[in-house]
């Protein structure tokens, strides 16, 4: 599904986020990207979300070279992904329901369909009863679950998460990871960047360890 083919991203100033990286992820896989900060985890995800473009090499998604997509095709490409962020990026002045419905409003769905899907997504993360609350009224763990609901509400085939448990204590982190695992069970391909090695060991699964912008080793 995803193939990084000798991809290099050089930032202005000469620093390389990833160097000649090669990586393949099959549909339906759950892959943890680990490594120190600066190892290239976030750069890899940015290249997938087209927040950055590769300097060299190809980023293929379902056989399509997304690195070469024209500017105007970016919105559609991003709508086909689900993204989860470390700081969850919820809008503080909107209710949970409104936050989760944003991708569907952007996609131009009808109101009834939006309500149905948002409630289904909130139900999946166990927050159906909090739909009218503001993000501030929720705990950090709950906020991240709202972020995940927003990422899956558009039914993406691929979900990418950048340090989704970075702000959470171990118990909540495990809870979030279990949630990812469950979503992966229904067929969503997942690429999760984290530096929490202990948690990854505990969960098991494919682990890609990055170092200095390259894949240093892999574990299954």
């Amino acid at each position: 599904m995803i193939r990084f083919d000798h991809v290099t991203k050089r930032y202005a100033g000469g620093h390389e986020g990833v160097s000649e990286i090669c990586l393949e992820v099959d549909a339906g896989e759950l892959v943890f990207l680990t490594g120190h900060s600066g190892a290239g985890k976030t750069t890899l995800l940015k290249l997938l979300a087209l927040i950055e473009r590769p300097t060299r090499g190809q980023v293929l998604l379902n056989g399509r070279n997304v690195g070469r997509l024209p500017e105007r095709a970016i919105p559609e490409h991003r709508r086909s992904l689900g993204m989860v962020f470390q700081d969850h990026k919820l809008l503080p002045d909107r209710s949970i329901f409104e936050n989760v419905s944003l991708p569907l409003i952007i996609a131009g769905l009808g109101r009834r369909e939006i309500a149905r899907r948002v409630r289904a997504a909130l139900d999946q993360v166990g927050l159906l009863n909090r739909e009218s609350a503001r993000p501030d009224a929720l705990s950090t763990g709950e906020q991240q679950r709202v972020g995940i609901a927003r990422a899956v509400v558009g039914r993406p085939r691929l979900l990418i998460a950048d340090e989704p448990t970075g702000n959470l204590d171990p118990d909540l982190s495990l809870e979030i990871m279990m949630l990812f695992r469950r979503l992966n069970g229904v067929g969503v391909t997942m690429l999760i960047a984290t530096h929490d090695l202990a948690l990854v060991e505990q969960l098991g699964g494919r682990q890609v360890i990055l170092d200095g912008g390259r894949v240093s080793s892999e574990q299954d």
Binding site: T42, L45, K46, A49, I51, I74, P75, E76, H77, R78, R79, S80, L81, M83, F85, K89, L91, L102, P103, I106, A107, G108, G110, R111, R150, D162
Partner: protein
């Protein structure tokens, strides 16, 4: 298609909702826009009234021909007859020296002075009323010719001040267009700056929307609607200001014109004028919003 329309209506109402949500700031902006629009609109109304006033006087382009003292009344009658034959002349009235004196005596205040006189110092006079469509230059030529007539002492052409007034009005009208242009530019800048701040305040929201795959059009739309409402609100405010001004000035103007024995009514903004103000406000509002959006939205790119 229906969904598209629904979304536009939602955006439109949401933009209004945001303005209503912070009334103080919105009203202030709308008031500034309204005043900027009201200035040229109000001046335009004044000029239109000036034109109406000048138009009412323009038909009264009569001119007086004073004969030399001592000329016979018959001479005046002969001159009047030849003038009546002129194609530009509608009517000629002869005011004999005696009639003029009698009128003067009736007017009163000169009585003492007049009774002391041995003989009538006044000349016979012709009052020439030109046709309404007589060209001004031909009238001037006629007056000049009359001036060279041996029995004529002096010709008084009273149209000069009307022409001067018209020239002044034309000058003022140009000035208003200039002012309107500058003020419209000011409205564009005001709306542009307000929307720029609005964009800055909603930066997080824009970033998230772009991360979730929002198109530029999607992100742009609410701000354009905000500009639309600012423009419309400003236009309505301007109309209100002009109406208020007309109401305040209407009474005194009617009284003043009654004192002059005329029935001049202050003219308001016609329907087309009101539409111009509203349309101008809308165009300026949307233009300002467009500039702000074009400049700042593309600069906001999401980061993770």
């Amino acid at each position: 298609m229906r969904l598209w329309l629904t979304r536009h209506v939602q955006n439109c109402l949401a933009a209004m909702g945001r303005l209503v949500h912070k009334p103080a700031g919105s009203l202030l902006t709308i008031a500034v826009i309204g005043i900027a629009l009201a200035l040229p609109a109000g001046l335009n109304v004044l000029v239109r009234n000036g034109e109406a006033l000048a138009g009412g006087w323009e038909s009264a382009r009569d001119f007086s021909v004073y004969l030399k003292p001592g000329e016979e009344l018959a001479q005046a009658a002969a001159l009047a007859k030849s003038l009546s034959a002129n194609g530009n002349v509608d009517d000629v009235e002869i005011i004999s020296a005696e009639a003029a004196l009698a009128e003067l005596q009736q007017a009163g205040s000169f009585e003492g002075a007049l009774t002391g006189l041995d003989n009538n110092p006044l000349p016979h006079t012709l009052v020439v009323r030109p046709r309404a469509d007589a060209p001004a230059n031909e009238l001037a030529e006629l007056a000049r010719e009359l001036g060279t007539n041996a029995s004529v002492d002096q010709v008084r052409l009273d149209t000069e001040w009307v022409e001067r007034l018209n020239a002044i009005l034309e000058f003022v009208r140009r000035g208003i267009w200039l002012a309107a242009g500058l003020l419209a530019l000011a409205v564009v800048v005001i709306v542009g700056n307000t929307i720029r701040l609005d964009i800055e305040n909603r930066r997080a929201e824009i970033e998230v929307a772009k991360l979730l795959g929002a198109t530029d059009a999607f992100v742009r739309r609410p701000f354009l609607y905000t500009g639309f409402w600012y423009g419309l609100g400003g236009g309505l405010f301007a109309l209100g200001v002009v109406l208020l001004g007309l109401t305040i000035l209407g009474g005194p103007v009617t009284r003043l014109s009654a004192l002059y024995g005329t029935s001049f009514q202050l003219q308001g903004l016609a329907g087309s004028g009101a539409l111009t103000v509203l349309g101008g406000g809308l165009v300026a509002g949307l233009t300002g919003a467009w500039f702000a959006v074009a400049q700042h939205l593309t600069a906001i790119q999401p980061k993770i």
